[in-house]
Structure formats: structure tokens, C-alpha cells
Point group: C2
């Protein structure tokens, strides 16, 4: 089977994951790539269904994302937000004039009876993106952040409070009643699947909500294809966002090893940054295969290089599996 | 009682009525003027509660209305609408970026439990307008347009179809279950009320929806204060909009006399344009008092002059009533 026959299904959150997804998108044909996306960050705001991670992926693959922030639209205007501020409306969550159209359009599609999966496919078509972006579930699952004093809605914690409160526990409300979306489960069991890839999104805030769905998790753990991940921790620091702070608050060492430990039982192999090569043996001792490269994705070339490296690593695990089973 | 002690309650639709309301607003103190507004044009669009006539009045009195159209905001931008168009969303009803904030804000206030009256007062405060703009009802009443072949929602007829279909009948759906808003009824029965004024809005599309509420109508017909109106028909033509076309379709002569005939039993007096002075006797024969002046309001001075004239006409009717009852 040639390389171009394989399909790859990726689990992703927003900004961090979207970098690798863009790299894969650039080196694979549209029919080779499916992206299962965290919807634990979704919320209704000002009457609009907001899906931050889905939109970040759509905008990234459409080439219309704001390159500075990694989320929202490029060349965005903020006249709505200014007017709402003058009226005393809630402005803690930024909604650009063009971005609003996405939320209003999604609302309209959902009201007309489309599932979130269907509405996302419609939006993808309207943004001329051919890679399927698949919500993890068509049922709401909502990430909630527990602190010593209260339980916060995710966006309250993440955006309004700038991820400042110390986290004691994270829950994925509704996950026990929710099923994985049929499209997500199908993508994880596709014919000619070459690998399942966990992007270097925040494991607790972006990937675990997806894995909190028992059918998705068991489909992954029962899969015979390589499951590979990339550590979001490099040299004891997070590439971006609150991952390192969160790990400390949850009592972990901020290290690639901790990521390996967290994903033990899910991953066959973990890619860690070359700066963390000294942790390879310890990670192998957990039963994971490990490989090192540059995992910091600043340029598009970095993204494509890490995507290529990830596919090669998966192939290598696949071949190893074949060898050991033969 | 001096002139400045009197209060005036005005019935108004959107653009046409707002011209006279602005004139009254400029010559009266805020506590002297209340405006009861047609909500028959209101509709939910893209999940937003749109109140075209209320917003036209708010924007007009706030000095932020688009002076060219008479509706919408001045210096508006349309980035949302452009983006929605690219996504294939409904763009037949124009929603500017800043205008959207008004609808989103109203939705939020309604969701939080405010009545439409309360939400409108909140918006007025946020727009720094001190004149009460009062929805005719807190319950939906929806103007529907019957044609030979179908029944159209008002905005479908008025905006999407540009008022082109021939009208056979107009209904005010829900009017038999709806009550006038408490604030509207209070304004029509205020102490020291000097007059009830029907603006030269379209009688069938803007004023009749208000009069279709039985408690509002009986409060007006039972009122002892002068009820005066201004004809929207001048020299056989409508100043603006589909009034003349509609009158023809409903089988009427397009004349100030027809307006007088329509409002017989409601009005004590009608102001008609000086160009229609030849109709005064016929109108008096209907039992209405009548007076002529320039009723075409192009400039702010025109608006103030017609407002002054209207108040003087009401005073004259009031004095006449006093004389005849003494």
C-alpha cells in the first residue's frame, strides 16, 4: 500500500492543534485527513452557538485565520463590539463583525435541524475547505473548571478570567450521556487508516474532553493502527497557553515525561522535542515508543516538517507492529 | 395651566412618524412627550428580535439615525452582512455591524426577563434618550399582508418583496389576545394630557396595528383630550412609502379626505396639507375639525414647525371643547 492510500484521523483542540493540522493539510490530500475536534469549549453567548476550536480549524484551513492570535479572522473589524460596549453589553468575549456571521449562520443551520456535524460540514463547504472538521459529539459536553471556591464554565475561566484561577479539577459535564458523533467514530475506524494522531493541544483542556467520550476512547484503545501524539511541553515549558500552569496546579512535573504518563494506555508512541531527548528512556520505560525532533512550529515549514515526521513515526510503529506480529 | 405643563402622547410607526416625533422632541421637554410605537412590523430574524419602528425612533431621537434612509445607523458598516452573504446566509434584511449590537442587546435583555417595554427603556437609557418610546404591546402582534394568492409576513412583503404584491387585506395577528402595554395605556391617560397625536405614518401599516388593540382604541375614543392627526397624503400622493399604492389596492381614493374618512370616530381633528385646502369642507362634513399647513417635513425646521402647528391645533380644539361645554 502506497503512502498516499493511507488516511489519518487527528484529535485536535484550537490554536495549538491547528498548527499541526495545517501542516498535515498541506502534505496530504483532502480525502486522507479527518479532524475530530474538541467541543468542550463550546458555549452559548449572546444567543449564539460559539464553537471556538471548530472555528479556529475552519479559519486556519481556509487561510483566513488571524495569523497573530491564531484564532479569529484576519482583517477583522470590531464595529459590533464597540457598539455593544456603548450599550453596556457583555464584551469579555471578542466577536468580530465577520466572525459573527459564522455564529449567526451556524445558529440558523442548527435551528433548521442540522446536527453540529452537519452544520460544520455546511460551514466548511461555504469556506471552501475540503478537509472534514468533525465535532467530537453532536451532544453538548461542557468542560468545567473547579477551583477551591467554585466551578467555572470553561470560557469564564479561560477568557473572562484569563486562566488565572488555580485549577483543582476539570470535569467534562455531560460526557456520560453523550456519544461520539457518528462521523468521528467512522473517521477513527476508516478503511486504510494509517494512524490516529493526537495534536500537541492542551491534553487536559483540549484532548481529554474528546477522550472523555467512552465510545471514542474505546475505539482508539481498541484500534490496531498506531496512535501517536506530540508533547505540548518543551524543555519544561508550554509552547503556549496555560498548559504548564495547569500541570503545576494539578501536581505534576512540567515535562514531556508527564505528558507520556498522562497518555499511557492511549498512545503507542510520543514525539517529544529534541531538547527533551534525555527523557526518552524514561518514556520508553512506560511502554511507549518515542522519537525526537523539533516540535516548535513557528513557520509553515515547521508545521509541514512536524507533520511529515509524525507520519514517518507512525509508519515506523506500524512496520514494527507488523514485524513483531509476523 | 401653562403650555409647558401639558403632556402629549403620540402614536407612531417608523420613518414617517419619526419626523414629527423629532419635531415634538425638539420643542417639548422630555417629560412632556411619550411615544407609543407600532410593533406589528417586529419579527425574529436570524435569531434576533428586530423592532424596526422602535429602533428608528431611538436612533432618530439619539441623533444617530442614517439621515439618507431615515432608518438604521449613520456611519454604519456592513462587514457582518458581507461575510454572511459569502456563507450563503439570508441577506434580504440589512443588518449593519453597529445595528446588530442593538438587536443582540435587546435579545439579551428579553432573555433576562425584561418585557419589551422594559428592554426598550433600557436601550433608550443606553442611547441617552430621555423621551419614553413605548411599544404598543408587550405581546407579539404581527401585521400580515394578504394578497390574492397568499398571506405574507410583514417584512417579507415590505422588505423582501419591496411592497410589490397587491394587497387585498391586512390583518394584525394576535391583536385579539394582546393587551396594550401598561406604559402605553398610562401614557394615553396621563394627568395633564394636552393631546393624543397620530403622526403621519401609514394609517394601515403603522397606526392601525396600534388601534387594533381594543384597550388602546377604547382609551383613545373615550379620552376627553383632543385627538389630532396629520394626513400622510398630500395632493393625491404619499410623502413616502407604499401608502398611496396600498390605498388604491384597497379601493380608496388617494386623498386627504380618505384619511379623514378612515380615522372618523378616532380623531377630533385632522391637519392636511395646504395643497389640499379644497378638501376642508368635505372633511368637516365628516364631523372632524380640520386645519391646513405645510405638512412636508424635509428640514428640521419643517419638523418643528409642524410640531408647533399640531400643538396649537390641539389647543384650539381643546379651547373649543371647553367653550362648548361651558
Amino acid at each position: 500500500m502506497s503512502d498516499s492510500d493511507f488516511k489519518y484521523t487527528v484529535l485536535s483542540g484550537g490554536v495549538g492543534g491547528a498548527k499541526l493540522v495545517l501542516g498535515l493539510h498541506k502534505i496530504l490530500a483532502p480525502e486522507q485527513l479527518s479532524v475530530v475536534v474538541n467541543t468542550g469549549d463550546d458555549f452559548e453567548h449572546l444567543g449564539l452557538p460559539i464553537c471556538p476550536d471548530i472555528d479556529t480549524l475552519i479559519y486556519t484551513l481556509a487561510g483566513t485565520v488571524n495569523p497573530t492570535t491564531g484564532w479569529g479572522l484576519n482583517n477583522e473589524s470590531w464595529y459590533f463590539m464597540e457598539a455593544l460596549k456603548q450599550l453596556g453589553g457583555a464584551t469579555w468575549f471578542s466577536l468580530g463583525d465577520r466572525d459573527l456571521a459564522t455564529h449567526i449562520r451556524r445558529r440558523d443551520l442548527l435551528v433548521k435541524g442540522q446536527t453540529l456535524s452537519e452544520a460544520t460540514l455546511t460551514l466548511l463547504r461555504e469556506f471552501h475547505v475540503h478537509t472534514p472538521i468533525i465535532p467530537m459529539s453532536n451532544t453538548p459536553v461542557r468542560t468545567k473548571i473547579k477551583t477551591n471556591s467554585e466551578t467555572l464554565d470553561f470560557q469564564d475561566y479561560f477568557v473572562r478570567l484569563k486562566a488565572e484561577p488555580a485549577v483543582t479539577e476539570i470535569i467534562y459535564a455531560g460526557n456520560d450521556q453523550a456519544a461520539g458523533s457518528p462521523d468521528a467514530l467512522a473517521a477513527l475506524q476508516a478503511n486504510k487508516l494509517g494512524a490516529i494522531i493526537l495534536t500537541p493541544s492542551n491534553p487536559w483542556l483540549s484532548i481529554d474532553p474528546i477522550l472523555s467520550l467512552s465510545d471514542i476512547k474505546s475505539t482508539i484503545t481498541n484500534s490496531t493502527v498506531p496512535v501517536v501524539g506530540i508533547s505540548p511541553i518543551v524543555s519544561g515549558k508550554a509552547i503556549k497557553g496555560p498548559t504548564a500552569k495547569l500541570m503545576r496546579e494539578l501536581g505534576m512535573d512540567v515535562s514531556a515525561y508527564s505528558i507520556a504518563e498522562h497518555y499511557k494506555g492511549i498512545l503507542d508512541g510520543l514525539i517529544i522535542d529534541q531538547q527533551d531527548a534525555d527523557q526518552c528512556d524514561a518514556i520508553r520505560a512506560l511502554g511507549l515508543q518515542v522519537s525526537t525532533t523539533n516540535t516548535i512550529m513557528n513557520s509553515l515549514d515547521d508545521k509541514k516538517a512536524l507533520a511529515e515526521f509524525t507520519l514517518a513515526f507512525a509508519r515506523q510503529i506500524h512496520t514494527g507492529n507488523m514485524d513483531s506480529s509476523s
